[in-house]
Symmetry: C2
Subunit: 81 residues, 2 copies
């Protein structure tokens, strides 16, 4: 089973990296970009034969405790096939 | 209009950061994780009134020329509403 975990800053938290990318893009002539927020994602392979339910539970735990900082970041888990 | 651009290492390129995360997760007891690859994504706001077609074209250009390194990385553009 494959899965993706997406981690991004909460909407209420300032994202200076995204702002820098936005002003760089505007400076390069891409004036239509009015906002950028950056995030990261993790593509994971899970052991074969794991049930979707167990996989989702495990990934939620991993996302919350290891990959994301729940104080500042939101995460989203997506199971693929 | 909102859009997301996903950038990740090509499958054929080694991803040491992903490998490190995988061995850390295994060390923490998450033995079911057999592979991790890390990527980044950019959530973009586009100027109102832009057509989907123009938006897709603009974002493809931005992804190819600014956000991703096409030698080592793949990208994917996703338009939202």
């Amino acid at each position: 089973m494959k899965a993706r975990v997406y981690v991004s800053m909460k909407k209420t938290v300032l994202d200076p990296q995204g702002q820098t990318i936005q002003s760089a893009l505007n400076g390069l002539g891409h004036k239509s970009i009015s906002g950028v927020r950056q995030g990261k994602f993790f593509e994971m392979d899970l052991a074969a034969g794991m049930s979707r339910e167990d996989g989702a539970k495990e990934l939620d735990l991993i996302a919350r405790e290891v990959l994301a900082n729940p104080v500042m970041e939101d995460y989203r888990v997506e199971l693929i096939d």
